[in-house]
């Protein structure tokens, strides 16, 4: 059975995402359809976040910067060039006068995210602990501030509109699956294992000759690319975007998703994104759509309160996340059918 574990580890998260997408595309109302695709994109962001935070054990509040630059580069570059000079008059000429297609824009978003992560990561990856958390937060603050006010590179404080809506279920699902596969291949690669070793014991890892800075940087750059790519998908879903949509709320939401699912496993990233995302959809439907005797079940605006309570409750019951930071393996199935305390319980893998 163990031989199949790697495949199961990949198959389970992929299955969850695909199943959600298939069910949602079949049954969800048009209004909910956008929300479901949004959850798929949020999962991509959370998995991108996991690639760095989960594997390195270093908290980053900065990954949404890469979502933001990905979203805005993909968005600004796909506004049709015949209208762009009239709507976005202040742009640099080479941005103003060129437009690119859908797939190119997603690649651009990933590329911009990677390059930005590389530039930022070279100095910042020297830091650990709270200092790393605050420094990456500072990056987010700078990114937000510049995107909001520098109207030579984007829409500034106004909302960017007229972005082609190309993120359908196929693209959102394929994107999320692609991100999951990339994260999976990375964590099983030599580099991924080296980085995980530094997470478990930095001193021992360094003594074994691992360059912590370099390993963290690779993960940070890959994470930046995946987050940028997810940003590209996001902008093509929303059709219009404001810089506030890729700032604090998304940062806290995605971090919370990761921790709720279990920050040390790929499965945890997907399960956390899915759980919080679906609870959010369910509660907002209770609030807006489903009525009992003329009154909606939940008072208006209360769904987010509910999401917060669910998040808190999960953390209180399972502080290391729903999955406990473990990947899926055959043992889960045998434990499920085992009676009494499981004998199949083993030391969690380095996951």
């Amino acid at each position: 059975m163990r031989r199949w574990d790697p495949l199961l580890q990949l198959a389970m998260p992929v299955l969850l995402v695909v199943l959600t997408a298939v069910l949602a595309s079949g049954f969800a109302s048009p209004a909910d359809s956008v929300k479901f695709r949004n959850v798929l994109i949020e999962i991509s962001v959370v998995v991108g976040l996991y690639v760095f935070v989960g594997n390195s054990g270093v908290l980053s509040f900065g990954q949404i910067s890469f979502v933001a630059v990905g979203a805005f580069s993909a968005g600004v570059m796909t506004v049709p060039s015949d209208v762009k000079p009239n709507v976005l008059t202040t742009l640099f000429p080479f941005i103003k006068n060129h437009s690119i297609g859908n797939v190119t824009s997603l690649l651009l978003a990933a590329g911009v995210g990677m390059i930005y992560a590389l530039i930022v990561g070279i100095p910042l990856m020297r830091l650990s602990g709270l200092a790393a958390g605050i420094a990456t937060f500072a990056v987010l603050g700078i990114t937000y501030n510049i995107l909001k006010y520098w109207d030579r590179i984007g829409p500034g404080a106004t909302t960017l509109t007229l972005i082609p809506a190309t993120t359908d279920y196929v693209q959102a699902t394929a994107g999320a699956v692609g991100v999951i596969i990339a994260a999976f291949l990375y964590q099983r690669s030599r580099w991924g294992r080296l980085l995980r070793a530094t997470r478990e014991d930095p001193a021992a890892a360094q003594a074994a000759g691992i360059d912590i800075h370099r390993q963290r940087l690779w993960a940070f750059v890959l994470s930046g690319g995946l987050c940028g790519f997810a940003g590209g998908l996001l902008v093509h879903l929303l059709e219009s975007i404001n810089v506030d949509q890729v700032y604090l709320d998304l940062t806290f939401l995605t971090l919370a998703m990761l921790v709720v699912g279990g920050s040390q496993s790929l499965l945890g990233a997907v399960v956390g994104g899915l759980t919080v995302g679906l609870v959010n959809i369910l509660l907002s439907d209770l609030e807006h759509k489903w009525h009992v005797g003329g009154a909606s079940i939940l008072p208006g605006g209360s769904s987010l309160v509910g999401v917060a309570i669910v998040m808190l409750a999960v953390l209180l019951v399972r502080p290391s996340g729903i999955t406990g930071g473990r990947e899926f393996d055959a043992g889960w199935i045998s434990r499920l059918f085992a009676r009494g305390p499981s004998t199949a319980e083993r030391v969690p893998p380095a996951a």
Partner: protein, 311 residues
């Protein structure tokens, strides 16, 4: 002319000290809890918000009464927070505790938002507490608002009181022992729950004081009240050095001071990043990154004491 320019700078510096004083108050509240619990309380801003709401709800009352109510309710709220969330999670990873406080913060913000979505109210509730302190006294060409003086005095008194408490009482000794080495302190007979509850309660009182001062000049409260200022103070506390209450407080003061002063001194014109005062946060954040790269343990931390190291 020279006098006018000089007094403009003096004005900016006095305002900056006032702003730094409030930030320092909040920094102490955050640093105190971090010291004993190793918990970064992101929901601290929502304690400020709760206190500000209490001021708004008791707007018609005598100012002294409404401040007392604000302090009492805030302390109650933070004790509930401690009992419900901090205590069960005390032994978990710092990331879990931090995300739990995110969740509380998110919960309280959205609960406050309900007030405005459920009924058709205008955004925000107004606060008239101590509004007369917004008047200024003029010395030469420098206008100092009373609230600035009150902020500086309150912060100084609160910090002095805290220093006395920490340095001269048994409780203070226990708090310092717990902050220094929690396990050993417990072995020596320090009651963990009592000490933590005191630390948390004091942080609640400080949040309420900060809320009163902030509310005097803003005169309004909504669901975002306290959020930005807490984020800034958290950054300041880490930049100053979180391991030690004094360095954390200095860090909080410094970021409030720098934010106010740089904002006043940056030109209002300039279209490239970092050249005008709309880019003030970027300038501050860039300085934060540079400080952390040079001194990751904090600007005011003694060397060798830092919990964080570069790799």
């Amino acid at each position: 002319m020279i006098l006018a320019v000089a007094s403009a700078h003096v004005q900016a510096i006095i305002d900056a000290i006032g702003s730094g004083a409030v930030f320092a108050l909040i920094a102490v509240g955050i640093g105190l809890v971090f010291g004993v619990l190793r918990l970064v309380n992101f929901a601290y801003g929502q304690l400020i918000m709760i206190a500000a709401y209490m001021l708004a709800f008791t707007d018609g009352w005598n100012d002294a009464f409404s401040i007392v109510v604000a302090v009492a309710v805030t302390v109650f709220a933070v004790l509930v927070m401690e009992r419900v969330a901090f205590r069960p999670l005390r032994t978990t990873s710092p990331a879990t505790m931090l995300v739990a406080t995110f969740a509380i913060s998110f919960l309280l913000q959205n609960a406050a938002l309900l007030r405005y979505t459920y009924k058709d109210r205008p955004q925000g509730d107004s606060i008239g507490t101590l509004a007369e302190l917004n008047r200024a006294i003029t010395i030469g060409q420098v206008h100092v608002r009373w609230v600035t003086i009150v902020a500086i005095c309150t912060a100084s008194l609160a910090l002095a009181g805290l220093a006395l408490l920490l340095g001269w009482t048994s409780l203070g000794l226990q708090l310092r022992a717990a902050a220094n080495d929690f396990q050993t302190a417990r072995l020596l007979g320090v009651r963990a729950n009592t000490v933590i509850m005191w630390a948390v309660a004091i942080s609640g009182v400080l949040a309420a004081f900060a809320a009163v001062i902030l509310s005097i000049s803003r005169q309004q409260v909504d669901q975002t009240t306290g959020l930005d200022v807490t984020i800034f103070v958290l950054i300041g506390v880490v930049v100053g050095g979180m391991e030690n209450l004094v360095s954390a407080t200095l860090g909080g003061f410094l970021i409030g001071f720098a934010n106010s002063l740089v904002g006043a001194e940056l030109p209002t014109q300039g279209s490239w990043p970092f050249t005008s005062n709309v880019y003030l946060p970027s300038v501050i954040y860039l300085a934060v990154i540079l400080v952390l790269l040079v001194r990751p343990g904090g600007l005011f931390a003694r060397s060798g004491q830092a919990a964080v190291e570069r790799v």
